[in-house]
Subunit: 373 residues, 4 copies
């Protein structure tokens, strides 16, 4: 292999829109020219190739190191990476991967988003999960819930139709351990390794390639894909077997949820008792009751009444539910965690699908007849 | 005894034990000299004055500023301060006051402790609360619970027997607002101002004169005594009317309790799911689920199994109860806070009076059949 | 006096509207004729007297027995009874007392109600609490909350202005033990006995003179007033010292609240799982999960969507709060009871002052997106 | 068929110990004589047959009606029934089935129990689940948990190896809906119908053939097997699709658990407040706070300190967990139910596997430092 695999990307990207469904029947819908990598008709693919050549110098050193790592790994070449799920977090993650020269293919349920992405970055638009996974060394999924990942695996257009033995499915979804274990078993049946690898750090962390990646699965497999994860992750932690990454992510988020609610309760009571919430926060944040919620979310989002929509309450509700489920599965009595799950479930029902997670404070305000401002 | 003004302390402690009980019957054990700056008529001030002169250079600048402040305050002279309650937090607080040249009198239920203190520091040992308060401008109490303060007020030996109009009772106990309001009303009836002024920062904060002081009561009264509070407090916050300081302190501590328990639950579940707790904490502490409990208490005290006894669970149980009571009094629904109160109550019953607050984690471990290490 | 004291009632009712405020200044506003006992101008008082004579034969045997009991009690004569609080429960209670020929005086905050009552029954309308209590042997209060009773005691028009030594204040309010103990202490200071004696059985029980009366206070005092309580109570239980009646009533009602909510939760979950709630109730009510809530309230009021307004949620919220407070005061960890207090508090805020207690099920429905029908 | 199918039972029971594993390979271990139906060597099988003939007259009328029902059902003959799980509830259920002349085969994990049963009743001892199910029209399982039923299905000795199309698997285990749905799917794949049919009524109900049977699954299938269920069930209720029976049973038991705990909390608080628990129960049981727990379990088992071991806490903990899981699966916020699950989990850990469910009150006593007696 060469250090700069433009040629191979070009070769692969000869078929800009990959539509194949099973390994042997996979065909490219149109491959008229090596200069066309665009998935949207009329977009000059040469731009992609050119961009690829042009930007090499700007690839960050971590990625350069990655290349060397890959040379000594079990992959015989630079890994080819597929990325599925161009959401708020997934898009900046994919952007870093695109810049890292990894023969990136992208898939998204709403195809236009993937098409637009591939038009702007060094990436090929795959029209099915199977097409994305076909020939990929590392397939990364980043979707709302585990069930979405499961649904991408099935059928002739699914990931499992083309994932080849020796490849790795890295699921960056904030998933649930039970589904991850099921996915891992299905992957293992065809020689594919599986890692659950949810990320934390939010959109900002994703944009700065500074995510924390919590990994569950085989440690050796993690070492093989670590250079790829390092493209967008700053802290990559092996948490345990399959599902352990999901579990740690869910518990972290459940603690966020819990502290958000507990601080809201405390401030509501104090507000009613005549204490201004900024005064209370000023004290709490230099004392023992402080948390990420009190130090950052309340001053920036609640007291200001800004409540920006950065992370949906619906997703945090899901995460708390996963954490509560992990505790139940382990038969660990966790009254506070379980209560949090119920409170967030009711808040989610009351506030709807679009509410931001911090808006749960508005629900506490409504239940208590208080405004924390 | 130290390099610091032995002679003067020795001189002063000639009248070290003040035994008076009511204003008119109170007497000093010895009153030899007219150089007396003591606030109790007839007390030999020379020792005090000498001491005062001798150590001026070492008095921190905040105290120098305090003196000026007092000169311009409604008190006609430097305030005389009494301190009651030489516990783990109270003793270092009193030490700073002794060093600040404020004619300090100290009282403690176990008299030997006050006697020893006065032998070592520039302070007079008062054998009754009334003797301590007699002639004092500022009386500071620092006791386990509000009821203790109330009991110090009553009877011929009580504070209210000698507290003079214009003086201020500053209660640094982590008290409850209802009792504080009752105390304030009783003080007001004889022209004495009352501030509830619980502190946070622990023994370390007290020793470094770096406490946070949460003050409830009249803001103008706080301004008058602020220089005295500044002797041991780094951050002095006016929280609202009488009881507001108590309320803020209680809510802060309830959040500490809540986060201690929530983190224990999360780590117990993860431990059972095969994740090592230090790995989970490593992730949580760089993510959104972090709190003072996860960042400091678990790494330093739980994972190490050190569980040093720095702050009793019994007292934290009391604080959570106060916070829960504030919410109830305000008719603010706080399911999480109330559940915390119940969990800590049961843990307190199970672990006993001497257990440290962090040992509540051991109770979670027992309930869940887990060890977080 | 005679066994049938019509004459004495007439004599007393010569002054139909008693307005006196202190024992010695008490005067009657108008006493034109012994045939006029009506407090509403124009209402022929003779009707009352006639009714009195006419109905003697219908006085239940329990009351006849009572008369004998009173003759042998420490009261030198048949007791004179005052009743304050003509609400939904109080009115039928007072009706039985009126029929029992006990020289009844009635007071109500909205005076028109007391006036109307005295026009229809053998009762004198007292325009102040003091007037009602003046000369009464037994004063019965039945008000929404303990604080209402406390407010009736104070001032020149208050109960304590006229309650004479040896008399008994029986508080049938669903009160709180702490206030009852305060009331008892104030009564004791002037030689008046106090019993907290909340009732259960609802409006129907009150109308059928079939109430359960839970009594706290001195057992000997209860024996003295038992014949009076027996006029409206079927089961009269001495629960313990002052406040014990309140505590038992509050805990009973808290269990009602708790079971109402728990059954709603269970049925909401089953409804969502495809089970019709009447089928589930059919099973539960022949099985171990049954309660008064499942056996009576759900079939009659929820499945029918009738939700009649018989007992306000606001009052049940208050009762749960009292029970939760008793547990807290006793330092008894009661997570379920405390959670119930929080859930009912929030429901009360959400549903308002007029909602019936069973309407809390509508709140559970809203939180869970379910209709139990 | 004949009305009295003794002959056919005799024919079937020719092989007293059925050991076959698959339909075509199934063999009888020994079938020397039609007079030997005993599974324990040396036990005269004739006794079984004789008993069969002798007791016909005592078969209750419900069973006689059942026979007629079966004639009109899809089964071409009287149904042959297998019963697996001779526990505390299962044994009396099986006894009624044996008396009902239904060609009963019994299996139990501890074989000696099944052997003893078949020696005493008209039943054949099957040494494997497959042998029990082989040729059976209705297979009834009654085991601790759903996972036990699942494990009986697998492998060459499992139920699914011999269950024939058209037969019905009726699972009387207090199971969980998810496993029941999985079992139903596996059964359906080979033409076997599945009903989840947990029972309530306890040992006494089972002995009196007065159980309540909660049935999930196809209503028509229930009608076919209703006569068999009527042998031990007094009230047979169709709750909904597969899993609905489990769900109703679990919710009923969760309410039992919840009321047990709530009543314990209330009585602990009252006891500490000086009220004797029998007095409190006397009031509650004539008032609105009553439940099966307060009316039966506390008077009979707690106040007497008898705590007989009739139903294990471990199983009630499991049931509450199932109910909590149903609510979670349906995304229905159920804070009280979930809290109950946590409290019972911790109690189960603390009290161990053998504790009776009512002993959870002892745990509440320990947590609160109270004895309810």
């Amino acid at each position: 292999m060469t250090v700069h695999p433009t040629a191979s990307i070009a070769a692969r990207s000869a078929a800009s829109v990959v539509t194949g469904s099973t390994p042997d029947t996979q065909v490219t819908s149109a491959a008229p020219s090596s200069t066309s990598a665009a998935s949207i008709p009329g977009t000059p693919a040469s731009a992609v190739i050119t961009a690829c050549r042009a930007c090499t110098a700007t690839i960050p050193s971590i990625v350069k190191a990655s290349r060397i790592a890959w040379q000594s790994s079990t992959f015989s070449d630079m890994p080819t990476v597929a990325f599925l799920g161009l959401g708020a977090i997934g898009t900046p993650m994919a952007r870093h991967l695109a810049a890292a020269d990894l023969g990136l293919r992208v898939w998204n349920r709403t195809a236009a988003k993937a098409a637009a992405f591939s038009a702007e970055h060094r990436a090929i638009h795959a029209v099915t999960p199977a097409a994305a996974a076909d020939g990929a060394d590392v397939v990364i999924t980043c979707l709302p819930v585990s069930a979405d990942v499961e649904s991408l695996c099935d059928g002739p257009d699914g990931l499992l139709a083309t994932l080849r033995p020796g490849s790795v499915l890295v699921d960056c979804t904030s998933g649930d351990p039970a589904t991850s274990r099921r996915l891992a078993a299905r992957c293992a049946a065809q020689g594919v390794a599986f890692l659950d690898a949810p990320v934390s750090g939010g959109v900002a962390g994703a944009e700065q390639a500074a995510l924390t990646v919590m990994v569950g699965g085989d440690a050796a497999v993690l070492e093989r894909v670590r250079p790829v994860l390092a493209v967008f992750g700053k802290k990559i932690v092996h948490c345990g077997g399959v599902g352990a990454g999901d579990a740690v992510k869910a518990v972290n988020n459940a603690l966020l949820a819990l502290h958000l609610w507990s601080t809201a309760e405390g401030l509501a009571a104090l507000t009613q008792a005549g204490v201004r919430p900024e005064v209370a926060l000023d004290v709490i944040n230099t004392s023992s009751g402080r948390s990420n919620a009190s130090m950052n979310l309340f001053p920036e989002r609640v007291l200001t009444r800004a409540f920006p929509r950065t992370f949906r309450l619906a997703l945090l509700d899901k995460d708390v539910g996963i954490a509560a489920g992990v505790a139940r599965e382990q038969k660990v009595a966790t009254p506070m965690l379980q209560l949090t799950a119920e409170l967030f479930r009711a808040a989610h029902v009351a506030l709807g699908e679009e509410a931001d997670h911090v808006e749960v404070v508005k629900w506490v305000e409504r239940l208590t007849g208080t405004v924390i401002e």
